[in-house]
């Protein structure tokens, strides 16, 4: 279940076929993963490639496994590089926040650009239960404050 490295890609037959097809079209392989970094007690990740179903599921799995392995308390997801937040991506982000929350981890999404915020509101998407911050710095501040109990939402987890 637990893989030694988060960056080890599984390769099935279907995966190979798809990769070959993509290579023929001059595209990057779909098995690309989203890196997850650790800073203090928190995990930091920046989505810089278009999310599709399989990548999104892989990302969710990688995140949860990394949370388990590192015992992280907070998760920062930077979406500055995402130019379109449709209902699919929203659903993925909301799901990640919910799953992380079940593992005692608070998620903060950072880097929503103005045009993305406008579109989200008009489109009718709601980031239910997700905290957002303007940028990485503010997001980190938010998580640190929460860790210190300033947000009044200390779940009483053990300190490592």
């Amino acid at each position: 279940m637990k893989s030694g490295s988060v960056l080890t890609a599984g390769s099935e037959h279907a995966e190979e076929t798809k990769r070959t097809r993509m290579a023929e079209r001059g595209e990057r392989p779909a098995s690309e993963r989203i890196p997850i970094l650790q800073i203090e007690d928190f995990l930091l990740t920046s989505i810089q490639v278009p999310l599709h179903d399989r990548l999104a599921l892989q990302f969710q799995r990688d995140l949860l496994q990394t949370i388990e392995r590192t015992r992280a308390k907070g998760l920062l997801i930077d979406i500055t590089a995402i130019d379109v937040v449709d209902s699919f991506i929203t659903r993925i982000l909301v799901e990640i926040a919910k799953m992380a929350s079940l593992m005692g981890v608070k998620t903060v999404i950072v880097g929503l650009r103005p045009e993305i915020s406008i579109t989200l509101v008009e489109f009718g998407v709601e980031f239910n239960g997700i905290k957002t911050a303007l940028n990485l710095e503010k997001g980190l501040e938010m998580l640190r404050a929460w860790r210190k109990g300033d947000y009044g939402e200390n779940y009483g987890e053990n300190r490592d």
Binding site: D53, V84, D86, S87, F88, I118, E122, F123, G124
Partner: protein, 158 residues
């Protein structure tokens, strides 16, 4: 006059990205600002995903259209943006038209499909209603067992 610019076959997930990237690029070339580019790209992303999720495959067409008689144009005054002559951009108002067509199962209850919170695909259920809010014009035709055609237009602010 409708000028067909791009036609994208939607067969798998990756085509959704291709479609929205093209739409955004065409919108940018036509002079839309970043907010409208994002609205258009989001709408295209949603329409393309509907094709993949519900119909399996279909086509997305991105066209330039013009509206007659908006800025003293000499056209017939048709609000459809699909007049008969050939003077794109002269005395009219330019827009980007997106047509999404599939031969999928069709939508049984269109009114319901446009309501927020309704989804048969397990998504957020804001797809079509959201697309309608992001764009200036929205038309949908669907027949159960035959397919669905959605046409949306975003007009360029002058």
């Amino acid at each position: 006059m409708v000028k067909i610019m791009v036609k994208i076959e939607i067969k798998e997930e990756y085509d959704i990205v291709t479609a929205r990237v093209s739409a955004k690029e065409e919108a940018r070339k036509l002079g839309f600002g970043i907010v409208d580019q994002t609205r258009i790209a989001t709408a295209v992303s949603e329409l393309a995903r509907n094709i993949v999720d519900y119909a399996g495959e279909g086509v997305i067409e991105i066209n330039i259209v013009d509206k007659k008689g908006v800025v003293g144009g000499s056209g017939s005054g048709s609000s459809e943006g699909r007049g008969g002559d050939n003077d794109i951009g002269r005395g009219g108002c330019l827009g980007l038209e997106i047509i999404a067509v599939d031969n999928g199962p069709g939508i049984e209850d269109i009114e319901k499909a446009l309501e927020d919170g309704y989804s048969t695909g397990g998504g957020l259920g804001i797809g079509l209603g959201g697309v309608r809010r992001l764009m200036d014009e929205f038309e949908i035709q669907s027949k159960v067992g035959e397919g669905t055609k959605v046409r949306v237009v975003k007009w360029k602010q002058i």
